[in-house]
Amino acid sequence: MSVFQQVLIGPLKDIGSNPAFFGEVVIGGILAGMLYSLVALGFVLIFKASGVFNFAQGVMVLFAALTLVGLIERGAGVWVALAATALVMIVLAFAIERAVLRPLVNQPQIILFMATIGLNFFLEGFGEMLWGANVKKLDVGIPDRSFMAAGMQINQLELSAGGIAAILVVVLAIFFQKTRIGRALRAVADDHEAALSIGIPLKTIWVVVWSVAGLVAIVAGIMWGAKSGVQFSLSLIALKALPVLILGGFESVPGAIVGGLIIGVGEKIGEVYWGPLVGGAIENWFAYVLALAFLLIRPQGLFGEKIIERV
């Protein structure tokens, strides 16, 4: 068989010979993509409002999940633990604004980026000190069995995660478009100085946006924690969000969602049908290849704003 046949015809034949399985791969990709989007959303929110690439977003997911499971383990009910975790993430946002962002206002973006690297290691160590390094089971009552539909096996947990991510996006869209604070956030994102000149308080905006990113981190932490248990490798899921951000643009909420779906479906199809040709395990780098291919066509990402600078 020629290389052309092996690389193109073989996998396509394979897809055509079992469409139900192909459907399962696509659905699996969509649901995994929604989970990537959840993590990417946290990055987008902070970048949109402050231009800061928050290196600590992955650890924020971990910290939120650790706090939630830690409280549940100590006897708190799920809803009480959720509320308390939300409170902790809001307090954390205040602390970050006061101790990290405020002293560095007007510094170059790279300095703020470096500060988030420091924040990343601090939160990781602090989380470990508070809650320990053991693997913890996170059970918030979402069923985790699979069921069959039209010859396809679908996982209930992933389906729930997809649904919750969709609801979260709608809520965020309403928050950004329809509320006063949301409009202020967009104004800050467009132009810091112009926003300040019309009286929008930058410090408040930063607290709000870090709080919202913290709340999104709780949702992402629950979904990923339910999948793999709450453990320190949870912070590495940030790596899964990067190709989503490259593809969807760093400033676009819909971009994070659509980007997540494209990456999720693309990497699953790539791994299942083309992976065996090269010994497998192409999923991780295939996502980046896919994102880079899009980048060549739209450097600002799918939904990113085109940068036009007068020279």
């Binding site: 791969v25 989970l35 699979s146 248990g229 453990q231 490798s233 395990a281």
Partner: protein, 440 residues
């Protein structure tokens, strides 16, 4: 009045010199054993119980027996975060005082193997590391007893054969190997491929990239292949996710068998009840029902010197850490007996002790570990010893051994191992082959 600057300098000096002071205290007429540990980072859930097991056993020897033959053991931990670069830095920092090292990472082991002969430091990679180094004729300073990855993989196939009613019944069966896409994860592949040809089973190799948090594509392929058995060579979060995915697609859990780095408590916790029935290979028994545990409680924990919580005694990795420490100690004891020492042995003497270790049932009984691990004999040619494997199963609350001890297919493994030793030791590292008949 004390100035602010003075306080800052004093605190900085205290922080900087504190570890040095403890290292100085650790010196003296004691046997110094550095511990490369990973108590932080993504692999900490596996690293912590292992490190605690080491600490508890060495503490037991110091508290109960005054050390080994009256010479105290001094340990110093160095944090690697399971990172090869950090592990090599730890080794370089501690090697001048060390006579042996347990790298606790296949990646670190590979880096230390070429350094060991020059530094006269024994490398003991217990059940991990480079399989080829079990040929002591090429690798005099490296030991991987009680078993290697290849022996383990052959024991797995033997177990599956027994479950199916004989090795001849494997013909036409489908076995999938899901492995961590790293040198560690790939170690079992050549043995499985050889055995697939020999016994006619259909082998599919599915690699999972680090860290293995997302494995949907792998398990979609498993669904399509519908294998009779799955062998899992995972690490860290990859194991928990794999067990959970298997439960999620309704795979028969008693046909999913992890290797011995995929069978701890932290690997089954995320899947909850779904993990019931999951099996893994092992070379020692789990549980805290051995005499050595009573001794640890009496001489270490009751004195408030325990490294872990008392409830953690008997966990798979805590037991493994204790067994690793025991094997180190017994090799040192062997060396001290040979050279009639009342002081700490040198690296070369310890190497002799490792190579001539003969751990009998009677000695294991004396140590309170009878039944916890099989007797073991190491030789100049054979640095993996004559260890046996077993299969343990998770019942939802604890691991329990569910098989007899399994003899690896040494007739298959040893020739391949010797071929690999020629390549890795003779050709790559330019080591000369020792004539073991001339060694005493």
């Amino acid at each position: 009045m004390i100035s602010k600057r003075f306080v800052v300098v004093a605190v900085a000096l205290a922080l900087a010199l504190g570890p040095l002071a403890s290292a100085v205290l650790a010196q003296g007429p004691s046997i110094f054993i550095p511990l490369l540990v990973y108590r932080t980072g993504p692999y900490a859930p596996s690293g912590i119980p292992n490190a605690n097991g080491f600490q508890d056993y060495f503490n037991l020897l110091n508290e109960r027996d005054g050390g080994i033959n009256g010479v105290k053991i001094a340990v110093e931990e160095c944090e690697t975060q399971y990172d090869t670069k950090q592990g090599v830095e730890c080794y370089e920092r501690l090697k001048s005082k060390a006579v042996l090292i347990n790298p606790y990472s296949t990646g670190i082991t590979y880096q230390l193997i070429p350094k060991a002969p020059g530094d006269k430091v024994v490398v003991h990679s217990m059940g991990y590391g480079m399989t080829a180094s079990a040929d002591g004729r090429y690798f005099p300073w490296v030991f991987n007893f009680p078993m290697t990855y290849w022996s383990q993989a052959s024991s797995f196939v033997k177990y599956v054969g027994a479950q199916e009613g004989g090795l001849e019944k494997l013909k036409g069966k489908k076995i999938v190997h899901i492995f961590h896409n790293s040198p560690y994860g790939k170690e079992a592949n050549p043995t499985l491929e050889t055995l697939a040809k020999a016994h006619g089973f259909e082998l599919t190799l599915l690699a999972v990239d680090h860290p293995g948090q997302e494995q949907k594509a792998t398990w979609l392929q498993v669904r399509r292949i519908n294998p009779d058995w799955i062998y899992l060579s995972g690490w860290g979060v990859m194991n928990g996710v794999a067990v959970k995915e298997a439960a999620g697609i309704g795979y028969k859990m008693d046909r999913l068998v992890g290797n011995w780095w995929s069978g701890s408590e932290s690997d089954v916790i995320p899947a909850g009840d779904g993990a019931k029935g999951y099996k893994s290979m092992t070379f020692h028994a789990p549980g805290a029902g051995f005499k050595v545990h009573q001794d640890v409680i009496k001489h270490v924990y009751d004195k408030g010197k325990g490294a872990a919580k008392k409830e953690a005694l008997g966990e798979v990795y805590h037991n493994r850490g204790m067994i690793n420490a025991m094997l180190n100690a017994e090799a040192i004891r062997t060396a001290m007996a040979k050279y009639n020492l009342k002081t700490a042995p040198t690296g070369e003497q310890v190497r002799w002790g490792f190579e001539n270790l003969d751990l009998t049932e009677a000695q294991l009984d004396k140590l309170g570990m009878k039944g916890m691990i099989r007797p073991l004999k190491v030789s100049c040619e054979n640095h993996e010893g004559n260890g046996l494997a077993a299969v343990q199963q998770w019942d939802g609350k604890q691991w329990k051994v569910v098989s007899d001890w399994i003899e690896p297919m040494r007739n298959v493994v040893r020739p391949k191992l010797e071929e690999a030793a020629v390549q890795e030791g003779g050709e790559k590292l330019k080591y000369a082959k020792r004539d073991c008949s001339k060694e005493k």
